[in-house]
Amino acid sequence: MYVSVKGGEKAIEAAHALLAEERRGDPAVPELGLDQIAEQLSLGVARVMSEGALYDRELAALAIKQARGDLVEAIFLLRAYRTTLPRLATSLPVDTDRMAVRRRISATFKDIPGGQVLGPTFDYTHRLLDFDLAQPSAQGDAARPSGEPAPARPLPSVARILGEEGLLEREVPGDDAAPVADLTRAPLSFPAERDARLQALARGDEGFLLALGYSTQRGYGRNHPFAGEIRMGDVTVEIQPDDLPFTVEIGDIEVTECQMVNSFKGSKTKPAQFTRGYGLTFGHGERKAMAMALVDRALRCRELGEEAVGPAQDEEFVLYHCDSLEASGFVQHLKLPHYVDFQSELVMVREMRKAAAEAAPKAEAAE
């Protein structure tokens, strides 16, 4: 005799207990501390902060620990927390020219004022597994090189240098008094303004943007990019309180910025000049910042009078599908029960097969 499935609540609790056990792994192995994650898995933390849209290393580390290292799940945890936080103020635009730079490179000029600063990069490492890392360092922290102190002086951006010659399109300053689009408060509408688009891309899934950016390089909406400048370091965040005549620094954040410079032959209305694509992430997130800049530039096709031929230039396609929470949720919701819809389909397919079977002999007889 069939008894309908009961005890969903107990099953859920048991699943949660199993999950906690799996997360902890072998209890003989010391448990991870948040400081270890924040310090030693810092690029994972940076990605979770960027796409989680919340600058907090400790909470990002907690999310990574709770998510068992699944960064997309950790991003979800951080977002779900972020959405409950009150909005106290809107910061002033950060000035990345005043960044305390730890890495700064340009692929467009051999030398630039302030020089090329390689900083901590994987770029010229040989991807050979370093078996020395398999064991904790014998020398401990003493072995750590002190590293160059970050230059405190501002480094003018390559984009600014090009801009002075009129070769690069001017960056039209926005109206600082006007409210900034916020997708977390109001839904996207199309055509999307650039502020909303950049917000969507900054929160967007790195893998998705990487593939889209790559597709533009292979001809699906090519935009002739050069990495004008990539810089990474600390910038100061300031707010302007309503009732005070001066601005207040509320802290420093580490960001990675990519200014992509794209050749542009000009159009009927615009002379030839270089155009821009822009990418910015929290922490050190070069791959994401570069991919974002490529996609940002691709999405400017309408504004620049280019024909949209590639998926990366299709605003609705890109912006509706770049969010990992939305994509992950909807793909995975197929796990939820669909008994009723499936039963409806079963009933219909059976009827259609029955009708076809009844019709077939008659058709044969008629022949």
């Binding site: 069939y2 309908s4 499935v5 009961k6 005890g7 969903g8 609540e9 099953a11 859920i12 979800f76 977002r79 779900a80 972020r82 959405t83 409950t84 009150p86 977390t184 408060r185 109001a186 839904p187 996207l188 509408s189 199309f190 609705e316 509706y320 929470l325 939305e326 992950s328 949720g329 909807f330 793909v331 995975q332 919701h333 939820l336 029960p337 669909h338 008994y339 009723v340 819809d341 039963q343 409806s344 389909e345 079963l346 009933v347 219909m348 009827e351 259609m352 009708a355």
Partner: protein, 284 residues
């Protein structure tokens, strides 16, 4: 788990106000999809975040909540959502359709008729009825604005031309109040007639797609059809194996690896009430 410090029904009051304004607009324009500022919820998109936000916006301390998934109160996600509101809002919950003031549902409308004052909240994955025919939101919004729905009638006609029938068994498109075409969330077409002139308020929340729409009480909801191919609902040769109902939507349960199967009500509350009445009759 430590979850202290959250507002009543999880969402902050500003967010609820935004949602309520959206709902009011949706009620004022039956069937029209109103965009809203979807929030990240503590469960994934696809798990009913739209319905949960609608419920969170309308629920009060005196409400009695029922949550069903596939018609049943005991499916895991229904259990999870019911527990979420029991925890964050401290409201009473029930499995009895007639006792609930709010019924949140995924994929079904309860078999028992709803009454005035009740609110049925649907979880909606894709709110746009024209989406499979036109993927662009910019286009479909225009089509709604112009009541340009011919494309859907052509699709239904093509079904008839190819299959001799309209081959849509769930998520069957409807027209609300003779104006907006609406997607009834993927309920089986069996449930479509229940939407028409229903005394309860019907609210639809699509979180990922950031849309809310509504069917106010006693509003006309017509399933699309043709004069010579009228709309019809599924029927089964069997009755429910547990309660004997011949008028309910049946789930097919596979009971052995030899292909044995039985049919039982998808609406667990309806089925249990009927079973209780039968055993009472038998005892008398």
């Amino acid at each position: 788990m430590n979850t202290g410090g959250y507002n009543f029904a999880y969402l902050d009051e500003q967010t609820k106000r935004m949602l309520r304004r959206t709902i009011l607009k949706a009620v004022a324009i039956p069937g029209y999809q109103v965009p809203f500022g979807d929030r990240e919820m503590p469960m994934p998109h696809g798990w009913g975040t739209g319905g949960i936000q609608v419920t969170a916006a309308i629920i009060g301390p005196d409400d009695v909540l029922k949550v069903i998934d596939q018609g049943a109160d005991d499916t895991t996600n229904a259990v999870s959502i019911r527990k979420f509101f029991a925890k964050t809002a401290g409201v009473a919950t029930t499995t009895r359709t007639e006792d609930a003031t709010i019924v949140q549902t995924r994929h079904r409308i309860p078999e028992k008729p709803l009454h005035e004052g009740q609110i049925l909240v649907y979880q909606v994955p894709i709110p746009e009825p024209l989406r499979w025919l036109e993927p662009r939101e910019t286009e479909t919004r225009k089509m709604h604005a112009l009541s340009e729905y011919g494309i859907m009638h052509v699709r239904l006609y093509e079904d008839i031309a190819t299959h001799g029938r309209i081959a849509t068994s769930y998520d069957y498109p409807v027209q609300v109040n003779d104006r907006y075409m609406m997607r009834p969330s993927p309920i089986p077409k069996f449930d479509n007639p229940k939407m028409d002139m229903n005394p309860a308020l019907q609210l639809f929340g699509a979180g990922r797609e950031k849309r809310i729409y509504a069917v106010p009480p006693y509003t006309k909801v017509k399933s699309l059809d043709f004069d010579d191919y009228p709309f019809e609902v599924q029927s089964w040769d069997q009755s429910c194996a547990l309660c004997g109902a011949g008028d309910s939507f049946l789930d097919e349960i596979i009971t052995s690896d030899r292909g044995d199967r039985m049919f039982v009500c998808s609406d667990s509350d309806y089925c249990q009430d009927r079973q209780a009445a039968r055993s009472k009759e038998a005892a008398e």
